[in-house]
Subunit: 194 residues, 2 copies
Amino acid sequence: MPRTVDREEQRRHIGTALLRLVSERGLDEVSVRTVAAAAGRSPGAVQKYFRTKEEMLAFAAELAGERVERRMAGVDTSLPPRRALRALILTTLPVDAERRAEATAQLAFAVHATHHPRLAATRRQVDEDVRQALAAWLEVAGYGAHATAVADAVIALSDGLALRMLYAPQEHEHLLTVLDHALDVLLPDPPVMG
Amino acid sequence: MPRTVDREEQRRHIGTALLRLVSERGLDEVSVRTVAAAAGRSPGAVQKYFRTKEEMLAFAAELAGERVERRMAGVDTSLPPRRALRALILTTLPVDAERRAEATAQLAFAVHATHHPRLAATRRQVDEDVRQALAAWLEVAGYGAHATAVADAVIALSDGLALRMLYAPQEHEHLLTVLDHALDVLLPDPPVMG
DNA sequence: TCCTTTGGGATACAGTCGTATTCTAAAGCG
DNA sequence: CGCTTTAGAATACGACTGTATCCCAAAGGA
């Protein structure tokens, strides 16, 4: 068994290049050849790790989902509820170059998923994870009454804000105040215990 | 000047076919040839009305924007505020086949606009119109204090809900209850006058 | 009626797409 | 060392892309 290589690492390398390409040039600029170029590989090499383009996209979509979950898991949820929730949401908004790239990829995949059941399934899985985590956290923070409704509203709100921030970066700051106002009414401060 | 034809009507006919194609098969299935087929024309005929594909997409994007504004203008805003706002939002959500088609096209164009400045400009224009109309209406309905913030929150919320409904139609009904809960907190009932 | 302009279809062309196949070189194992 | 398996590049192929060009039929103005 000669010249063996960490296949999973290679797949991640290519998947990462694909996500970078999506965020910089959009999903329709993604082809086997452009991804190979972005990853510093030959198109033939990419084919060794992904038999079809669809398989490559599915892998990248999962990779993007993992990133979201990992980033949210990194937020200090012991902060005051309102601040913690704001921090959680900010990890999904295009507030800096890195998050802008990820938000772009997320939304591109979300829209793509509308017509591609396989991608839709992985999207829903990520959504479900985020939703459960958010709802559970709202519960312990004292917002048990409408935890899941608030969680879903928060997800929808941040998706909508992210979308708008992407094609209207001028409104960036204004949209952050919109977020704050929405959080004011969604999370009455202080929380009602019980 | 022989054989003259209503050019604008023809452009609309082709643009309508394009939007239908986007909603049914996604934006990456849009090509000059597929649009021509969907419109019952030859590719050459389409070229007579749109010199480039980009021009065709820009026209379709404006057409889609017009539809949103027309549909919202058709809502009876003399209803009780809460009911009227709900009706306004429902015109943008994929609650039936027709609105599903439009929401799909809207979101596809929105994401596409991220990397295409010309489309982003027309998106922003539509957003601005909707935003102003919504804010003005909230003002007379007695929610003057945070009218624009509420308007923007509502827009973001419905965009996020629409996106999710498209790739997760199973959650459709649940998401409508999420909308209602969000409206409950965004529009305290009854409104505070002044 | 003829001439000119137009709508609309057909065709051509160069480029890119996804994917299958074929090649070379390298590396572990006997 | 030599054999075998693999990584990875190169090539090939048919389909599709956007767009330019050409051709024909139809219709209004002279």
